[in-house]
Subunit: 314 residues, 2 copies
Amino acid sequence: MINKLLVVGTMAYDNIETPFGKVENILGGAATYIAFASSNFKTNVGIVSVIGEDFKSEDLKLLTNRKVDISGVEIINGEKTFFWSGKYHDDLNIRDTLDTQLNVLENFVPKVPNNWKKPKILLLGNLHPSVQLSALNQMNNRPELIILDTMNFWMDNFRSILDEVISKIDVICINDEEASQLTQENSIWKAAEKIKKLGPKYIIIKKGENGAMLFHNEKYFFVPAFPLKEVQDPTGAGDSFAGGFAGYLTQANDISFESMKLALIYASALASFTVEKFGTENLQLVNESKLKKRLKIFTKLTKFKTELLNTAEL
Amino acid sequence: MINKLLVVGTMAYDNIETPFGKVENILGGAATYIAFASSNFKTNVGIVSVIGEDFKSEDLKLLTNRKVDISGVEIINGEKTFFWSGKYHDDLNIRDTLDTQLNVLENFVPKVPNNWKKPKILLLGNLHPSVQLSALNQMNNRPELIILDTMNFWMDNFRSILDEVISKIDVICINDEEASQLTQENSIWKAAEKIKKLGPKYIIIKKGENGAMLFHNEKYFFVPAFPLKEVQDPTGAGDSFAGGFAGYLTQANDISFESMKLALIYASALASFTVEKFGTENLQLVNESKLKKRLKIFTKLTKFKTELLNTAEL
C-alpha cells in the first residue's frame, strides 16, 4: 500500500428529493463519494476536508472501516457540517438547488498532513478553486497525476482562480454542459480542443447516461454508461466516477492512455452503482464480485471483431 | 450481385430549415436515403415507391447511376411527389413539421416487381404500416431478414395495423422516444424487453448523437455515434442508418449477431455523413476511402485491452 491517492473535497449532509423518493440529512459530499469509490482498489486513500461537530462518528467510521485515512479531515467545534438540499426533476439531468449552507466550508483552509504531501495522485474534488489551489501548493513533489473536478458555479463566479488551477493540472473531469460553459462551444470535440489550450493534457467530458469521452492529444476513447434499468438518485455520480478513475490509476503500473481507458471503465461501473439508490447507500455495498460482473458487461457492450470490419464488399 | 435488398419507402421533396441554413425542394424521402446508403455495398438494391410527374429525371438518375433498381418506383402522371417541410430548433433533436403534402402517397398501393419478390433482405422504411404490410405480403418466400423502421405518427394513429407489421418482422429500428412511446417505458432496457414480446427478435434503439443499442435475446451491443464537430441537418440520419445496416447485412456471409454489430458500425458511419450537410448532399459523396477512414475511428473509439480489465488490484 505505497501508492497514495490524496483526495481534497467536501464532506456533507444532504437532503435529496427525486421522483423516486426523498431522504434527509444523509451522508454526502464529493470527498465521501470519491473515497467510497476509490477505496475499492488496493490503494492508500487519504482525505483532506472539513466537518462540523454535528458530523456523526458512525459516518467517519464508514470511511475508516474502508482504510480511508481521515487524518486530514479537520473538525471544527461549534460549527456545522456543509449542508446541501436539492430536488431532481422527472428528467434526472435537471435539478434545483433548494438550499446550500456552507457552514464549516465558509472559511476552510485545507491542511495537508505531512505524510500526505507526496501522493502518487492528487484528486481535487469539486469545491472552491482557491481551496484546490491551496492544497496543490502544499505538495512537496508534483504528484504523478493531478485530477480536477469542478462545476458551473465556480466557472461563473471564480473564473480567474479556476483558470489558474486548470493551468496546473493534468486531467480535467467535467460534464458536457460544463465543458460548453467553459469554452462557449457546443460540440464536445471543439470544447476539448479549447480546454487543451488551458493546460490539461487529458480531458474527460461526461455525458451522464450517455457515457464519457477522454481526449488526449490526437487520441480519444469513449466509455458508455453502464446500462441500468433504473436510476433513483444521480447525486454523487460524477464524484464516484472521478474516484473510480483515480483509484484505478493509483494502483496501475503506469499512467498511460491505455491505462486511462481501463480507469474510465471502472469509473463508469462505480458511478453506476451510486445512482441506483439514494446517496452513498449502494456505492458502499460494492464488492469485488459485483464490480467484476459489471466490468464484464462493459466488454460485451462495445466489443466487436475489428478484423472483420474491413471485409465488407464495397 | 445475387444478394438483393428490397427497400419500400417514400421518395420526396423537402423544405428544410436548421440553424445552419435553409433549403427548398431538395431530394428526400426514406427510400432515397436508404438507397444512397445501402448502395455503398456490393448489393443489388431495389426500391418500391411512388413519385409524381414533377419528380426530376436527374434525381432518378442519381439512383440509377448507383445501380439502384427503380423498376418498382411508380410514376403517377398528373400528380405531385410527396412533400415535407420542417424546421429544426437550436437543439437539433427537436423539429417542427411545417407542412406535409401526401400527394401521390395518399392512395399508394405498393407493387413489388416479380423479380423482386425473393429478396435476401426486405427493409420496410418509415411509411404507412398498411403499405409496409402490403409489400410484405407480396413476397414469394419469406426474406432471410425483414427490417422495419417506423415513427411516432404511425404509433399514434395506426397502432393496430402497425402492431400486425411489428409481429411479422425480425428487426425493428426506432429511436429512444419512439421506443418509449411504443412501450410506455422510459428505460431503453425495459422498452426493449417489451418490444421483444411484440415479435421482433432484434431491437435497435437509436439515440441520435448518443449512439444506438442492439438487443437480441440476452445479448446487446452499443455503437457510438461517429464523433462529428458539426451537424448541419439531421434529416435522413435514421434512414441512412437503416440503409447502412441493411446494406452491410445483404452482402454479409451470415446474418448473425456478430454480423449485426459490424452492420451497426457501418450504419452509424453512413448516418454521420448524412447529417454533416443538408439533405442527401454529403451522403452522395461517400466513397470507399472516406467510409473506411470513419470505420477506423470507430475501432479507436471503444477498443480497449480486455485482458487488462481484470488485472486491477481490488
